[in-house]
């Protein structure tokens, strides 16, 4: 008998490699230039096709203007292998709530990306894979275990504090925590329920063997563990001031953001990162607990 493999090792993941080569595509919701290029570049070589979904009138889900042409220009510049396919549509529907418009656009994009594909990546354009090999190893495992979606952990970043240093979401006592805005990959042909959330079984990866996301049930199963450094980095609110003002208006969650005056809160935390981090133990999860952590910088970002 061979020596037992250490748990959670890459080797034990790779031994489950599926017999056929998975066909992987991606969709990109074209609206926000911040971190767009590093986000797509991280997986560009590993996908067959990228569907670029955007509103043909350059409107967000709330009806505000978004810089679509700027984003398309950046994407076409990095598309050296001709993988990107434009998929314009009418995704601002004033009669629907923003989140419904969000889900609707994603479903259109997912359907378009599902042709000749086994899996579709659905990362937002400010989510960057620091270790694509690890992400795709988890995707192989999701395929092998029959999952409909891959829940892969994200580190949620609030604002940049200094070179390579960011204010990021954490536990009460400053431990890393994962957030799961939705499955970051979906089996082709999947039906979305709400935003990126989908019906069907999920392969759930976390940064510890027990669920670290306070928005999930405390005993939510964890199928695989990766290092926090391998989690997707979500530069969610790492924006220039003006871009942040826009973001709270175009987001699918803008109603809540505006009601809480999220921009003012963001500004205060970004201006006082150390005090914000120090106060983490006193905050409820909903009020936001932050620590100062490391994450990659990218030239020219936030754009």
């Amino acid at each position: 008998m061979n020596a037992p493999l250490p748990p959670d090792s890459l080797v034990s993941v790779l031994k489950l490699k599926v017999s056929h080569l998975m066909r992987i595509t991606a969709y990109v919701l074209v609206a926000d230039p911040a971190f767009l290029v590093p986000s797509v570049r991280a997986y560009y070589d590993r996908v067959d096709r990228i569907v670029l979904s955007y509103d043909r009138r350059a409107k967000s889900w709330t009806g505000s203007d978004v810089p679509v042409s700027d984003c398309l220009e950046r994407l076409h510049a990095l598309d050296v292998d001709g993988k990107c396919v434009d998929a314009p549509g009418d995704f601002f529907r004033p009669e629907f709530p923003p989140m419904d418009n969000d889900t609707n656009q994603r479903q259109h994009a997912l359907d378009a990306a599902s042709d000749d594909a086994d899996w579709v990546l659905q990362l937002d354009t400010d989510e960057v894979m620091p270790n694509p090999a690890r992400f795709f190893a988890s995707l192989e495992r999701a395929e092998a275990t029959g999952a409909s979606g891959l829940e892969y952990p994200s580190r949620w970043l609030h604002s940049r504090v200094g070179p390579g240093r960011y204010l990021e979401g954490c536990t009460r006592f400053w431990r890393s925590t994962a957030s799961f805005p939705g499955p970051l990959a979906a089996r082709a042909g999947t039906q979305l329920r709400h935003g990126r959330q989908l019906e069907g079984p999920l392969h759930r990866v976390d940064i510890r063997p027990w669920n670290t996301d306070a928005y999930h049930q405390w005993d939510a199963p964890v199928h695989e563990v990766v290092r926090a450094a391998d989690a997707v980095v979500h530069y969610s609110w790492v924006r220039r001031d003006e871009a942040m003002r826009r973001k709270v208006r175009w987001s699918g969650h803008s109603e809540g953001f505006l009601a809480r005056d999220e921009y003012a809160l963001w500004r205060r935390r970004a201006d006082h990162p150390r005090a914000t981090a120090l106060l983490a133990p006193l905050r409820s999860h909903d009020a936001g607990r932050y620590r100062i952590g490391s994450a990659p910088d990218f030239d020219g970002e936030p754009a």
Partner: protein, 352 residues
């Protein structure tokens, strides 16, 4: 794999459930494609199952184990010794195969990397086909195991372990890992997971074939106690600690993490305890009487006590189990002095 169309031996182990054995063998006889060999390993103290096989099932190879109750892996090991098929399938005596079971179970073995195939064990519970769809047969990083073997994932999927009521293995793969580990005491819970996890640790691939179905009726225990009673809870924890220590070693992160997982699991009981103590009204607005509260508290406390005792005792069991594994490499006959008529003095493994 020794042939394009592998041959199949089926091993059924039983203890004092002749009625179920009869139905089990009838279903095996009704398979669309017959299996090449059926072996019944009988650990019962009486001759009822023996007489049944003798009178009605001449095609079945009957083995009287002479073992005491609570020796399922040892009984499996006896069956494995006699099996000649390329594939050895194990089903419980209260698991009744569907007509296409053999065909569906064998199909995934076309992939040479697959060393084990299990199938659904349906109970007829409402919603069982969809419950736990994402968690079928997994060893989680926190050291716990998931079941959900009645679920239908819609395709053949990779798993970490299989259910003993419906599992099969390449015979040569079992030989390579040293056969079947014995000594999983009490209810023998986790004994089947030991085989799967060792195969996985050796680099083999295990899959779940949802079309290979048995109806697992869950017959009453004849080995003492009831399903999921305090004794069962004790041995669940005891044997789980043994399992992780024997397969991965005492230094394994799985073992360490499982202890923390088990302690976290007690939070549920702590909440129940507080709720009962506080005497809060239930959803119908009724406050429990003092007697009801005392009974409920006793239930929670005894449950916690059973689990903690099992966790603690599991370490001693693991030390003994690992010593047996080192000595024998596979299942051993436990010294029993049982009522068996043909006590088979088998001691399997390298030391035999």
């Amino acid at each position: 794999m020794t042939a394009a169309q592998p041959t199949v031996s089926v091993v059924v182990i039983t203890y004092s459930r002749p009625d179920y054995v009869e139905t089990c063998l009838d279903h095996l006889r009704a398979l669309a494609t017959p299996v090449e060999q059926v072996i019944l390993v009988d650990s019962s103290p009486d001759r009822e199952s023996a007489d049944l096989v003798e009178s009605r099932y001449p095609e079945v190879e009957y083995v009287r184990s002479g073992l005491a109750r609570g020796t399922m892996p040892e009984a499996r090991s006896m069956g494995l010794e006699l099996a000649t098929g390329d594939i050895v399938a194990f089903i419980d005596d209260d698991a009744f195969v569907f007509p296409r079971w053999r065909d569906e179970l064998v199909r995934p073995y076309a992939d040479a990397r697959v060393a084990a195939v299990g199938g659904r064990a349906i109970n007829g519970a409402p919603g069982e086909a969809v419950f736990g769809l994402g968690d079928i047969g997994r060893l989680l990083p926190n050291g716990s195991l998931t079941g959900n073997f009645p679920a239908v994932p819609g395709r053949v999927i990779a798993v970490d372990h299989l259910i003993g009521a419906n599992m099969s293995f390449r015979r040569d793969a079992l030989a390579e890992i040293g056969g079947i580990h014995g000594y999983y005491p009490g209810t023998c819970v986790r004994e089947e997971s030991d085989i799967s996890l060792r195969l996985g640790a050796a680099g083999y691939r295990l899959v779940f074939a949802p079309q290979a179905v048995v109806h697992h009726v869950g017959a009453p225990y004849r080995i003492g106690g009831q399903r999921f009673d305090r004794r069962y809870l004790f041995y669940s924890q005891h044997n789980h600690v043994m399992l992780l220590a024997r397969v991965y070693g005492f230094g394994s992160p799985y073992l360490r993490r499982y202890l923390w997982t088990a302690l976290r699991g007690q939070v549920v009981f702590a909440r129940q305890f507080v709720r009962i103590l506080s005497g809060r009204p239930d959803e119908r607005g009724l406050r429990p009487t003092a007697r009801q509260r005392a009974i409920a508290l006793a239930g929670v406390v005894s449950r916690v006590a059973a689990e903690w005792a099992g966790l603690a005792a599991g370490w001693a069991g693991a030390v003994r189990g690992r010593a047996l594994d080192r000595r024998h490499g596979s299942a051993v006959m436990m010294p029993t002095g049982t009522v068996g008529e043909q006590h088979l003095a088998l001691e399997l493994g390298p030391s035999a």
